[in-house]
């Protein structure tokens, strides 16, 4: 049995009168892909925000490898091994794809703060490696503002990988991708399986069933079901609350 690496216990968050995270407990085990599905507005992105420390939870604990993350800054959490992607790509449009990855590499390292980054060959080679892993071979010099949406999604992945995460939080990596791009994204994510644990927030059921080891269903801030793909598919609550509306 694999050890849980990211553990969330009894997490709560309210925005005004709205419970966006209502007593959520969830874990991600080593090397697994744990998919989190649920209708829009179920609080999936808010959950990622809380894990990263961008949003402060009202109650509950989040721990990484047994270490409580409460009160740790986002920067500390990244250093401990958390990384995320955004649903709408947050990339640096004025920079080249390579510079986007370089920034992530630089953020990890201290030292020689005022030296020229783009001339550090070791660093540039490392950045290139992450671009290749994300399937962006040969696109390093491209200005990011000129990249297609699908390529930006892949770049987000490359940037996240460059922080050397132990757990990767993916916020709808398939959103807005065409069929071909989706296939490419699934292939890239599959190639990372066994190396990095992932919490995969996704609407695209094909991707979820192709990738996930376990699936949890979040509806109105609550986890209503959790288990293997077959178990979740068979769960009557899920059929009513989620799959029913999706597949109707």
């Amino acid at each position: 049995m694999q050890q849980p690496i990211l553990t969330i216990e009894r997490l709560r968050k309210r925005f005004g009168g709205l419970r966006v995270t209502d007593d959520v407990s969830l874990d991600v085990r080593e090397n697994e892909i744990h998919a989190l599905i649920g209708p829009n507005g179920a609080g999936k992105s808010t959950l990622i925000g809380q894990i990263m420390g961008e949003i402060v939870a009202d109650a509950g604990t989040i721990s990484l490898c047994g270490r409580d993350l409460a009160r740790l800054s986002q920067a500390r959490r990244v250093r401990l091994g958390l990384a995320r992607t955004f649903q709408v790509p947050e990339v640096l449009g004025e920079y080249s794809a390579r510079e986007n990855v370089l920034a992530a590499l630089l953020a990890r390292r201290g030292g020689r703060f005022f030296s020229n980054a783009s001339r550090d060959e070791g660093l540039v080679r490392e950045a290139e490696g992450f671009l290749v892993r994300a399937g962006l071979d040969g696109r390093g010099d491209q200005r990011v503002a000129d990249l297609a949406h699908g390529e930006r999604k892949l770049l987000e992945l490359a940037v996240a990988l460059a922080t050397h995460p132990r757990v990767l939080l993916l916020d709808e990596p398939m959103a807005g991708l065409g069929p071909q791009e989706s296939t490419q994204m699934i292939d890239v994510l599959r190639s990372l399986r066994g190396e990095i644990a992932m919490l995969l927030v996704e609407h695209d059921m094909n991707a979820v069933f192709a990738l996930a080891d376990r699936i949890s269903v979040l509806v109105y801030g609550r986890i209503i079901a959790s288990g293997s793909a077959a178990e979740v598919r068979a769960d009557p609550l899920v059929r009513i609350a989620y799959l029913g509306t999706e597949e109707a």
Binding site: M52, E54, S73, Q74, A75, R77, V78, R79, A83, R84, F86, E90, V91, L92, G93, E94, Y95, E99, L102, A103, A104, L106, A107, R108, R112, F113, F114, S115, N116, A117, S118, V159, A160, A162, T163
Partner: protein, 325 residues
């Protein structure tokens, strides 16, 4: 394309040659006042270039950089006054009339003030940041108006410029070359910053703070550092300006001065190395030109600024380059 590139790379060299011979040309043309005008341009170019580190590289719209300009100038004025009077500042800091000493003091003083203002102001963002920097500058403005010991409203006059390595600083051309040298050193530092790891991360924060936080960058700390370096550059310019006119007054901290520095940076090109200097030359040149036509020159300058803000993107330094930002 290739020709164009060589042309562009020759441009700074040509500008440098022009700057190098300018005092002689001014002398030959019988227009010695030109040297002083050019010195003013260089100094304000330095001030704008300092602001550019915060504004252009860091995306921090500071509407209070005149504060650092004034602090730099007062550092010179106060140290010089104490040197002349022979009494140490605050009872233990000896006065000085040595340019090296006063410039270092102005860097230190403006750096400290920028560190304090930055630490407080960076808790806000957007319009609040613009306004809080303005408020701090106003505070210092009124503080120096109230400081009767250093001239208050009337300002502080110096009997002569600070001394430097046995040069005759009284000579306007000598002082011009001094300022030019300081500016070139600062621009070299700027260029280095722009392409450094620091510059890359800072530019990233300007484009998307969220992204940079998500890769573990402590964005507030980097912005703060940029703000401090920026304040020091503008402070250095204030110190030179104090020497140029041998005069310091609270007017150097007036909010319109902050506005003019912003205009210079935007006019020349925010985030570029030479842009702010080009902007300073253009703005002061335009002001002098208009002022020579009519005393109501601001009625032309005002709408020109409006037009600039409405239509002109990217700044003079980016003209002819591949697309701007």
């Amino acid at each position: 394309m290739h020709e164009r590139r060589t042309f562009r790379s020759l441009l700074p060299l040509a500008a440098l040659c022009l700057l190098a011979v300018l005092p002689f040309a001014a002398q030959a043309l019988g227009q010695p006042a030109l040297t002083t005008l050019a010195t003013r341009m260089l100094i304000l170019g330095l001030a704008a270039s300092g602001l550019n580190i915060a504004l252009g590289m860091g995306g921090l719209v500071s509407f209070g950089h005149a504060a650092f300009y004034g602090i730099g100038a007062y550092s010179v004025g106060i140290l010089t006054t104490h040197a002349v009077a022979g009494a140490p500042f605050l009872g233990f800091i000896p006065g000085s009339e040595q340019l090296v000493v006063t410039l270092l003091a102005s860097l230190l003083a403006s750096g400290i003030v920028a560190a304090i203002i930055g630490a407080l102001a960076l808790r806000t963002s957007g319009v609040q940041f613009i306004m809080i920097t303005l408020a701090f500058a106003q505070m210092l403005f009124f503080l120096f108006v109230a400081l009767k010991a250093y001239g208050g409203d009337d300002g502080l006059s110096m009997r002569r410029r600070n001394a430097f390595a046995g040069l005759n600083m009284r000579d306007d051309a000598t002082f011009y070359y001094t300022c030019l040298s300081v500016l070139l050193v600062w621009l070299a530092i700027s260029a280095r910053l722009l392409h450094s790891r620091f510059g890359l991360l800072l530019g990233g924060i300007r484009q998307s703070e969220r992204r940079m936080q998500a890769i573990g960058v402590q964005t507030v700390r980097l912005r703060w550092l940029a703000f401090v370096i920026s304040g020091m550059g503008t402070g250095l310019a204030g110190a030179l300006m104090a020497n140029l006119g041998r005069f310091v007054s609270p007017d150097m901290m007036h909010w319109t001065q902050s506005g003019e520095l912003l205009i210079m940076v935007v006019l020349g090109g925010a985030g570029t190395v030479f842009g702010p200097v080009i902007g300073a030359v253009a703005l002061i040149g335009l002001e002098s030109l208009l002022a020579s036509w009519t005393e109501h020159w601001q009625i032309i300058l005002g709408p020109s600024l409006v037009l600039l803000a409405l239509t002109f993107r990217g700044g003079l330094a980016r003209l002819g380059k591949r697309e701007g930002r």
